[in-house]
């Protein structure tokens, strides 16, 4: 009887313990998201499988300092993307706080940049974005708080990044959007998704940015 109890307790603790420990982990390589395999015909007319990779490199935004922001702004940089709006009462404050943690960590590194898209085109004018950026104390040199030029552009971007960002009168603040931080590489490919509301994910993102920088600089 005692042996049965002891064995049960032993196995229970083995299964239960890992769940209690949260830790970041150093990865070997970051996956590339947005790749699809397609059937194409090669030069001989033979059907072969080719890989098509998504590069999000065609966009025009205006940032908090009225500057035009395009993919060129992020040339040779590793950057973190998210979607927010300045009047957001729920997830945005903690997302901003976590993004600042990453921003501060890479303070002296111009190879790391940040892009926050507003999804409230009506209210988040350039002055509004500037006021928000000032409240947080960040500079457009490294962190662009930018607005898409119209709703179609915003929807297209959200679809490319594979996150949700839309008007919803039933949601707090009037918008429903993803709290994801999206890690982008030097070729504008998606390399990771992180939960911007979880500080632990921000810590993992810092490690993954270092990994990407190493990958970029080793080429």
């Amino acid at each position: 009887m005692n042996r049965v109890i002891f064995t049960c307790a032993f196995f229970a603790s083995i299964f239960l313990l890992p769940g209690c420990i949260e830790h970041t982990h150093q990865k070997e390589q970051l996956k590339i998201y947005g790749q699809q395999e397609v059937l194409v015909k090669d030069s001989m007319g033979q059907e072969v499988i080719d890989t098509v990779t998504l590069h999000i490199d065609s966009f025009n935004l205006i940032n908090q300092d009225s500057q035009l922001v395009t993919a060129h702004t992020f040339k040779n940089k590793v950057y973190v993307v998210d979607f927010f709006f300045t009047h957001c009462p729920t997830i945005c404050p903690i997302m901003t706080k976590n993004m600042v943690k990453i921003y501060d960590h890479f303070e002296s590194n111009n190879q790391v940049a940040f892009l926050s898209h507003t999804i409230d085109l009506k209210n988040d004018s350039v002055p509004q974005l500037k006021a928000y950026a000032n409240k947080v104390g960040i500079s457009s040199k490294r962190w662009h708080m930018a607005t898409p030029l119209n709703k179609e552009a915003l929807n297209f971007l959200a679809a490319q990044y594979m996150v949700s960002a839309e008007e919803d009168p039933n949601s707090p603040g009037g918008f429903m959007h993803s709290g994801a931080f999206i890690l982008m590489d030097q070729q504008h490919r998606i390399r990771g998704y992180y939960d911007g509301t979880v500080t632990h994910d921000a810590d993992q993102l810092i490690l993954d940015i270092d990994l990407l920088l190493k990958e970029t600089n080793e080429r």
Partner: protein, 138 residues
Amino acid sequence: MSVNLRIIILGSFVAILLGLLVFRSCERPPQKGKKLYAENCASCHGFQGEGFRNLIPPLNDSVFLQENKEEFACIIAYGLDKSITVNGTTYNSPMEGFANLNAIEIANIANYVYANWGGEISEKFTSQDIEKTLLNCE
């Protein structure tokens, strides 16, 4: 071990399990203020109540807490969508209320906040105080 004893042991084990299942489905027992604060408030307002830059107001300002003792429960329950000034800085980002917290929990959070940062307080909040306040929020 006799068969009867084994039946009793197994039976009580099953009874305890059933009891736990039933207990969990009852209204959950109230948790202490510190834990509630950590789970609901700290991610934005900070574990030391320090707030975040000029975006999220601090809670560790006894002047603001004293002046807003009546409204405190309303803010937790229903959020805040107006400009406020704390320690000379104006904040105008809105806050969402916590509809899932009951009166006891709000009282526990309020007592935790005021005990740590509220300065001199005469009496603690009770859940009856909170319930009464919540009926009169603007």
